[in-house]
Amino acid sequence: MKVALFIPCYVDQFYPQVGMATVKLLDHFGVQHEFPKAQTCCGQPMANSGCMPEARPLALKYVDVFKGYDYIVAPSGSCVSMVRNHYESFFTEEDHAANEVRKRTYELSEFLVNVLNVTEIKGRFESTVGIHQSCHGLRELRLGPSSETMKPRKSLMANLLASIDGISFSKLQRIDECCGFGGTFAVAEEAVSCMMGEDRVNDHLAAGTKVLTAGDMSCLMHLEGIIRRRKHDIKVMHFAEILAEALTSPVAV
């Protein structure tokens, strides 16, 4: 199995520990991986701004960099959704390489659960964890049930986390409201963006969250920015970091 790591541009530069946690997890499950060095960005910032001509070269580059791999794994629902759901305008329907790359790009929890069939993480993590359901993972990739739809679905990330010893979860008032990041929205609509983030953080504070986690670092970057500015006592970790850390403290038999 030839697996490539796709580490989103801002994670590469600002959150290397999330990439390294992903590496640890893949190592743990015996998956050999590579990091194709030419990779940069999937093009989402441009595409979400409506600038399709500017997003195009990055989509082409992405397919070029990742073609030939069996799986491409990324610790980000948002970037995977970009590749899987929003690349069609850049390629023709018959473009074999693009079709394959898009199909083979997986979000980390999806890869662990649906490809590697991981059902539990044998390890300990003692804390009250608050889960932030990142919207693109939830409503684009359907990695869990959204509160609006009446269809039962299992939450891949929550199930993995729940299998860890010692972990408990905070109960939120609004289980999957958007954090307010939204890419350029965070700056273009700064007032609403920050109010949304503040409301999410307050919900977690009231629920007793000690560690705030999510599948997308972009949401966490925004929420952490607010948490640090307000000096709240909440630690922010990508779920890959929690899983990887749990593995280092094995369950006492």
Binding site: Y15, P57, R139, K151, E224
Partner: protein, 459 residues
């Protein structure tokens, strides 16, 4: 003005913005409970979506069928290409009947056509009879929500407004008392009205009849007393069969307010004896939307307002920040399609969270259309210079791996060494209320290479 500016004003009054958010979230939660009580909810949505898509694919046929059937029932059918024509038609009908006093039940279409100011200018008295609409009318405002027009107004403010206009006691804010006062006030208007105007929720091609849904019964009263009923509908309101109502009526009120069904679902099939019934079919940009495949599904909207109630941005910026008759997610598609220049910030008043898409009873892919709308504005060169230039720059930077890694490393170094005041300067929109990430010494790609070196793996 732009959405961000108006939204900033709204958020500046934080307690009020929080109150507004909570009031609408309450409605969203009611909707969730109602939806959950219908085991076949998702099937109903799919069904509704399929009916709408089918109808849109053969809209002219169904409209003509509706027209023929309605005429056979004795209805006068009119066609209006735009809002002005719609208003003129109403003016003509009213003139012919020498009608001066008009009562109107809720109709977003007449709002869209600016009927009230037009009629007032021409010397008519128009009274909105939906309680919420009457409140905004007395306050000389426009509705801030399509189902809950006065959701932005607190009961104390309603009390003040009624004290001024209806003579209620000063300082009174008990909703029951105020509602009673409004009822008395409206009753007089109903009794003296010469004509009643209503909207249309569903027009049935098969029968030529139509259905108006209200919670206050004001549509019924407004058209039962006067001898003239004018119903205004957008072209997209037609549905093929009467039995399709079984799908839409179950979805509409549950999605809108979390009720099993609207209190009044009034069916009109032809005029009452001794009175006249007119229907005006209005295009006003709808056929243009029909011709754009990427936005066609937006015409399926049944105006339930659920996408507004769920939208985290709408709840925190208020309906008026959209400067559009229909605000919120669906408004941010429909309105820029018509007036892209004035409304180019609306599709960006959205995080693409997708909650609207999941809540919509007719399964309009709202957040994908909002994304497509951004591309539409780009093609019309309406994104604004700074956005376009920064995206061009970013695209160039990210296209080259070397430039990207060099810039990334430079940015991390700068963030580590620059003094705080230089980083958190007034131009840094991110940093006004948020910290930037703490820059690591080494990027992931560097750490990955180190890791491989240490473990003897090729990097």
């Amino acid at each position: 003005m732009s959405h961000p500016t108006l939204a900033q004003d709204f958020v500046d009054n934080k307690p009020r913005a929080q109150w507004h958010d909570k009031a609408l979230w309450f409605v969203r939660e009611k909707r969730d409970r109602m939806a959950a009580s219908v085991p076949e909810w998702e099937d109903l949505r799919s069904h509704a979506s399929a009916i709408k898509m089918h109808t849109m694919s053969q809209l002219p046929t169904y409209l003509e069928m509706f027209e023929a059937k309605a005429k056979a029932l004795g209805v006068h059918v009119h066609w209006a290409a735009d809002g002005d024509e719609h208003n003129r038609i109403i003016h003509d009908i009213l003139q012919k009947h020498n009608a001066k006093k008009v009562v109107k039940s809720k109709s977003m279409l007449t709002e869209e056509c600016h009927l009230n100011p037009f009629l007032e200018k021409n010397g008519y008295e128009v009274v909105d009879t939906d309680l919420g609409e009457r409140i905004v009318q007395l306050r000389e405002e426009t509705p801030s929500h399509i189902v809950l027009p006065a959701i932005h107004i607190k009961k104390e403010e309603v009390g003040e407004c009624f004290h001024k206009h209806l003579g209620t006691e000063k300082g009174a804010s008990d909703p029951k008392y105020l509602t009673e006062a409004a009822r008395g006030h409206l009753r007089e208007r109903f009794c003296s009205a010469d004509a009643g105007i209503t909207g249309v929720n569903f027009a049935i091609a098969e029968t030529g009849g139509f259905v108006v849904c209200t919670n206050e019964g004001n549509a019924d009263l407004g058209v039962s007393l006067p001898k003239l009923h004018i119903a205004c509908m957008g072209l997209e309101k037609v549905i093929p069969r009467a039995s399709d109502l079984a799908v839409f009526l179950r979805l509409l009120a549950r999605s809108a307010t979390g009720q099993p069904i609207t209190t009044y679902s009034s069916h009109f099939h032809g005029p009452r004896e001794g009175s006249e019934l007119h229907i005006i079919l209005v295009d006003n940009g709808r056929s243009g939307i029909l011709a754009k495949p990427e936005f066609r599904r937006s015409l399926g909207c049944i105006r339930c307002g659920a996408c507004m109630n769920t939208c985290p941005v709408y709840r925190r910026s208020g309906g008026h920040s959209y400067e559009s008759t229909v605000p919120g997610p669906i408004g941010s598609i429909l309105t820029p399609l018509r007036t892209p220049e004035q409304h180019s910030t609306l599709p960006f008043a959205c995080t693409l969270c997708g909650s609207c898409t999941d809540v919509c009873p007719v399964k309009i892919d709202l957040h994908h259309q909002l994304l497509a709308m951004r591309g539409f504005l780009d093609r019309k060169k309406l994104l604004g210079m700074s956005k376009k230039m920064s995206m061009k720059f970013l695209s160039g930077l990210l296209s080259s791996t070397w430039m990207f890694t060099t810039a990334g490393s430079a940015a991390r170094t700068a963030l580590r060494w620059m003094p705080r005041f230089a980083i958190y300067n007034p131009l840094n929109g991110w940093g006004k209320q948020r910290e930037l990430p703490e820059p690591p010494k080494k990027s992931f790609r560097e750490q990955y290479a180190d890791n491989n070196k240490n473990s003897g793996r090729p990097s």
